[in-house]
């Protein structure tokens, strides 16, 4: 049964001062199963982040239907947590304070959220840093806090917008492996936007390729690799085959002249 269902959604942004409006998403349809890990890749500006914000309820589709468990999405909900590339922690709160932000808003009992935040700190490997402030942490640690903060509300859906895009290559790889562990423990559906084909294949049950703007789903590719996935798989033939297939479908667009920025970004993040 479908868990998140997008049917012919479009999103148009009106230009400022009566300027030309831009269509970010055109006739996008996508069905996501519960507890599925979905990676979304596509060129810059193809609307993949916009799609994520719509699932979060922070943006509304201009037309079309977007529903979760059969109910239309109207506004944000603590069941759908989002993690951004820029971490966006609350700088005046400690690691613990950041993680407990959601449960405290939602009036969870103190005992419950305190034991939960201890578990989460252990899960993301931040023991001993509970009382540090964000500016005392490295990029990788900040993103762990952001992930723990998102998980503290026990979300059904975890939305991640290029979460590892600002990290160095080595940190990024270890975060990918950790995210897999975290996802298996947390038992939630993940929508993971990335520019890296390798990262998309490594993490996902299914990779969604979006077209150039205005974006729509151009291809979905099921990744049939056993879990837990390991670093060794990067060099396996099957892994390379998936990467190749995805590159093909992206390059199609380049040949028609519309893929401009992304090959450069792909090299940087791969």
């Amino acid at each position: 049964m479908s868990f998140i269902h997008a049917q012919n959604i479009t999103k148009t942004f009106n230009g400022k001062n009566n300027g030309a409006s831009t269509m970010a998403i055109a006739e996008m349809s996508l069905t996501i199963r519960e507890k599925e890990f979905i990676s979304i890749i596509g060129p810059s500006g193809c609307g993949k982040s916009t799609f994520l914000l719509m699932v979060a309820g922070l943006e509304k589709p201009t037309t079309g239907d977007l529903a979760i468990e059969g109910k239309p999405i109207n506004g944000p909900d603590h069941q759908r947590a989002i993690v951004f590339q820029e971490f966006l922690l609350f700088p005046w709160k400690t690691v613990k304070g950041n993680i407990e932000f959601g449960p405290r808003l939602n009036r969870i009992k103190k005992q419950a959220y305190e034991s939960q935040s201890r578990d989460l700190i252990r899960l993301v490997g931040l023991e001993g840093f509970e009382n540090r402030f964000p500016h005392e942490l490295s990029g990788g640690m900040k993103q762990r806090v952001a992930i723990a903060r998102a998980l503290a509300n026990k979300p059904k859906v975890l939305l991640m917008d290029e979460p590892f895009g600002a990290l160095d290559a080595l940190t990024r790889e270890s975060m990918q492996i950790e995210l897999q562990k975290i996802w298996q423990k947390a038992q939630c559906t993940v929508l993971f936007v990335t520019h890296s084909i390798t990262e998309a294949v490594f993490l996902a049950d299914r990779v969604v390729v979006m077209s150039n703007r205005p974006g729509y789903v151009k291809k979905t590719l099921a990744i049939d690799l056993e879990r837990p996935r390991t670093r060794k798989m990067f060099t396996s033939e099957r892994f390379r085959h998936y990467e190749h297939q995805l590159k093909e479908s992206i390059w199609e667009e380049e040949e028609t002249g519309s893929w401009e920025i992304n090959p450069v970004e792909e090299k940087r993040s791969a």
């Binding site: 309820g57 603590h78 951004f84 966006l88 005046w92 932000f101 959601g102 500016h135």
Partner: protein
């Protein structure tokens, strides 16, 4: 030679030169009294209760104007940042009054309220109000839109967003405004007390000048300088304490 010592050098050197120049008789003592004489006069004025009295009068005025400016400035700033309608209503007035020198209002305030404390406090209020107001507005408006999105997706409603995210995020800016205004308060205080007053440190200095008593003029200036310095130090200390979470670099360092 450590840094603390180096920082004491220039004031000490100034005092020594000053003392030498006046002792040597190169400059008339009436024109520039020796620092030793000035400090002796200052000591006498402190002991006689003159300096404490005028300091208390001055600080009372400055604090009243400043606190009123802080409360109304932050309050109105939050309202303006919250509502475009309020912003559009207030903005033209703000832009017209803000660039106006506080002292341009002195004649009309003296006419309306007389030369007493009310006029003086209004002048101090006017000098302190705008830095606080504008810093509050831009502090709130400058909060990262994505930080707001993150908070909303964590379940924050409108009220929680203001109390738990927007105001704490804007706090460094608001406190900067408050700190700028302490200096504004001290400056406009002296000016307004010199125009018309029978008490306060500004009065003390201008009164000494009228009787050509330069020792007392310098003594008054030293008290004002020390007071301004202490107020700013205290403000900076409070800022650092309140914003211990803020990265050191953005506090401007020590």
């Amino acid at each position: 030679m450590n840094r603390t010592f180096r920082k004491w050098m220039s004031p000490l050197l100034l005092l020594v030169c000053w003392e030498v120049v006046t002792r040597a008789g190169w400059i008339d003592s009436w024109f520039l009294p020796a620092p030793s004489l000035v400090f002796q006069t200052l000591y006498e004025m402190v002991v006689s209760g003159e300096v404490p009295y005028h300091t208390a009068m001055s600080m009372g005025r400055a604090a009243t104007g400043y606190i009123a400016a802080a409360v109304i400035g932050i309050g109105l700033g939050l309202l303006i940042a919250w509502s475009v309608i309020i912003e559009d209503f207030c903005d033209p007035l703000i832009e017209l009054i803000r660039p106006l020198s506080s002292f341009a209002l002195v004649p009309i305030l003296f006419l309306w309220f007389g030369v007493g404390n009310t006029s003086k406090i209004i002048i101090i209020f006017k000098s302190c109000f705008f830095p606080i107001l504008l810093n509050t507005i831009s502090g709130i408006k400058g909060v990262d839109k994505k930080l707001i999105m993150a908070a909303r997706s964590l379940g924050a409603n409108g009220q929680q967003l203001w109390i738990r995210v927007l105001i704490p995020s804007a706090l460094p800016m608001i406190i900067t405004g408050l700190r700028i205004s302490t200096a504004m308060a001290m400056m406009s205080l002296v000016g307004v007390e010199m125009l018309s007053s029978d008490s306060g440190l500004g009065f003390l200095v201008i009164d000494a000048q009228r009787t050509f008593d330069t020792k007392r003029v310098f003594a008054g200036i030293i008290v004002l300088s020390a007071l301004g310095f202490s107020v700013d130090r205290a403000a900076r200390l409070i800022q650092t304490k309140l914003l211990s979470w803020h990265t050191e670099t953005s506090l401007g360092g020590k």
